[in-house]
């Protein structure tokens, strides 16, 4: 038990949340971060989907890592990821159809998310299943964290709502407040991700 939660494993899990964040530091998986973050709900669902897929594809590849011939490893990885993506996509369609319509092709496109292949190649191929699972969950949550921040800002300022509930009080609108239309445009998520990276770098300055 003590080995399961050793300090190295803790590091494996926590590192991608902050110091080695897949979006803020490695700048991977940007396209989906731009596409699905105009509201908070799809951003959360997308973040969780990627977390689940990264975690389990890491585990499966890690279990298979000694039997996969080196030359065809990419194909094998792709098959595993594609199977998991299909499962997640079907589950979304069954249990929250509206969100899956909003996410449209971007659930299917998780298969092309660089974070997934990156973790499989860089981590799961060399490490045991438990460490790979932690790494997958950590990276998925690190990705989800940025998505949620961007989705929060964009939905709050662009629609005046959070998760569909209006949070900007009516008296503000009565006094002439208007929702910011630019926040609902995809270009704005790029600027917000930029601001998040800016803040992240200024906080972690000593790392350089």
């Amino acid at each position: 038990m003590s080995k399961l939660f050793s300090s190295e494993n803790k590091e494996v899990f926590l590192n991608p949340l902050n110091k080695n964040n897949p979006i803020a530091v490695q700048v991977l998986g940007i396209c989906s971060a731009l596409a699905v973050t105009s509201q908070l709900e799809p951003a959360i669902v997308m973040g969780l989907s990627v977390t689940v897929i990264t975690a389990f594809s890491n585990v499966i590849i890690s279990l298979l890592r000694n039997t996969i011939p080196n030359r065809i490893r990419i194909i094998v990885q792709l098959v595993v990821v594609a199977a998991l993506v299909t499962i997640v996509s079907q589950v979304l369609k069954a249990y929250s159809y509206d969100v899956s319509v909003q996410l449209s092709v971007y659930v299917g496109l998780i298969i092309t998310n660089c974070i997934l292949m990156g973790r499989l190649e860089a981590f799961a191929m060399q490490n045991g299943p438990w460490e790979s699972f932690l790494d997958g969950v950590g990276n998925g949550l690190g990705y989800a964290l940025i998505l949620v921040i961007v989705g929060f800002v964009r939905e709050l300022l662009g629609f005046g709502t959070l998760l569909g509930y209006s949070v900007v009080p009516q008296w503000l609108y009565d006094h002439g407040y208007q929702n910011n239309g630019m926040m609902t445009m995809p270009a704005m998520s790029l600027i917000i991700v930029g601001c998040v990276i800016w803040a992240h770098r200024s906080i972690n300055k000593e790392e350089k």
Binding site: N180, M182, M183
Partner: protein
């Protein structure tokens, strides 16, 4: 002047390192160097020569050149207000101007307060000199928005533009995009209803401090710009009186952009002092006229080529925005390409994009993006030519 100099010298020690007002050192330095040319000279032993016309002096010329358009814009706001209220016969020229002054002044104050506030904070935080670029931007911003723009929107857009279009690139002289136009673009995309919506944004409808008239009813308030009318379906062409009015500047529009005569006065000053490049100014007009002629000749648009040049923000953009030395092309040949393409793009957007009756802002921002590429091509061409000469 002498008294001011003595006073500044007297209070200067308070702002130096260790003085009790050191926190405001950049503010003091900014004001001092704005009032007086700094006494710094080139390093001993170097062969550099300091021109007394530094960028603070250049920007003063720009502000002076903007004054005719600004003052006339104020008058036009009062004129449009009286026209909408149906009280044109009883309104006086001075009364109309005073109303416009009261309507525009808060925007100038907000624009300067927010923009300079951010600049001072950044300068103090980074221990740099205050950068003077915002002095011109701050007066340009109120001139390119409708008179009814809410002040809080203006403040948000100015902050957005100064931080994200200027400071993160390194401040004055480093920005890729013209900050005043980024402010307008931010307003335009964020709050479209406040920038063009239902054509009710161009006339100020409330009397201010007893000046001007209350306009009753939204019908009376709605006044489309000529370009807005032209964008509507079934448009057949302008009445000649519209064009005459556009040359005088008595049409609905953003505060400073309406009067061709006032803009021409500013243009003369800028060209005479050499602050703005005549190559850019000329080629913007040539590009716009040629494209406008082409659009009209091919039957795509009922607007004549010369009408494009006098309506909307074309002249204002060509004179004051496209010539911004920081964001324009810097190679002499590149200036022609840059200007021609701005004129071309502006008319193209106006005619072919039904969503945007006005295209000047987008055209200039778009070409700001390409100015470094144009410069690169020209510099590279020069290098290649010289290399060939050297090899022979």
């Amino acid at each position: 002047m002498k008294a001011l100099r003595n006073y500044l010298d007297k209070i200067k020690p308070n702002f130096e390192e260790g003085g009790k007002l050191h926190a405001f050192q950049s503010l003091f330095d900014g004001l001092e160097t704005f009032a007086f040319v700094p006494r710094t000279t080139g390093r001993v032993g170097s062969v550099n020569i300091h021109d007394a016309i530094d960028s603070k002096r250049i920007i003063s010329f720009v502000i002076i050149a903007l004054l005719p358009a600004l003052l006339f814009g104020m008058y036009n706001i009062g004129y449009q207000n009286a026209l909408a209220a149906g009280k044109l016969s009883e309104a006086t020229v001075l009364g109309m101007w005073w109303f416009g002054f009261l309507a525009v002044l808060p925007k100038i104050v907000v624009s300067y307060a927010v923009g300079l506030g951010i600049e001072f904070t950044v300068a103090q935080w980074k221990h740099e000199e205050i950068q003077e670029g915002f002095l011109a931007t701050g007066i340009l911003i109120p001139m390119i928005v409708p008179v009814t723009t809410p002040l809080w929107m203006l403040a948000v857009a100015v902050a957005f533009s100064v931080i994200l279009a200027k400071e993160i690139f390194g401040g004055t002289g480093m920005n890729i995009f013209n900050p005043a136009l980024v402010t307008r673009a931010c307003l335009f995309f964020s709050y479209p209803s406040a920038m063009t919506g239902d054509n009710t944004v161009w006339v100020a409808g409330k009397s201010l401090l007893g000046a001007g008239y209350d306009v009753v009813g939204t019908d009376a308030l709605s006044a489309a710009t000529p370009l807005g009318q032209a964008a509507e379906a079934g448009f057949a062409g302008f009445d000649p009186s519209v064009i005459t009015n556009a040359i005088y500047g008595l049409i609905p529009g953003s505060v400073g952009e309406t009067s061709i005569i006032a803009i021409a006065l500013g243009a003369l000053l800028l060209l005479w002092t050499g602050v703005a490049s005549w190559k850019i100014m000329l080629s913007v007009f040539v590009g716009g006229a040629a494209t406008g002629w082409l659009m009209q000749a091919t039957g795509l648009s009922a607007i004549q080529w010369y009408e494009h040049l006098v309506l909307g923000g074309f002249a204002f953009g060509a004179v004051f925005m496209a010539t911004d030395p920081v964001t324009a092309s810097r190679t002499e040949g590149g200036k022609y390409i840059y200007g021609l393409l701005i004129g071309f793009m502006a008319v193209l957007v106006r005619v072919l994009n039904p969503g945007f009756p006005e295209g000047m802002m987008l055209a200039i921002l778009f070409m700001n993006l390409f100015a470094p590429l144009i410069d690169y091509c020209f510099v590279q061409r020069n290098i290649n030519m010289r290399a060939k000469r050297a090899i022979k």
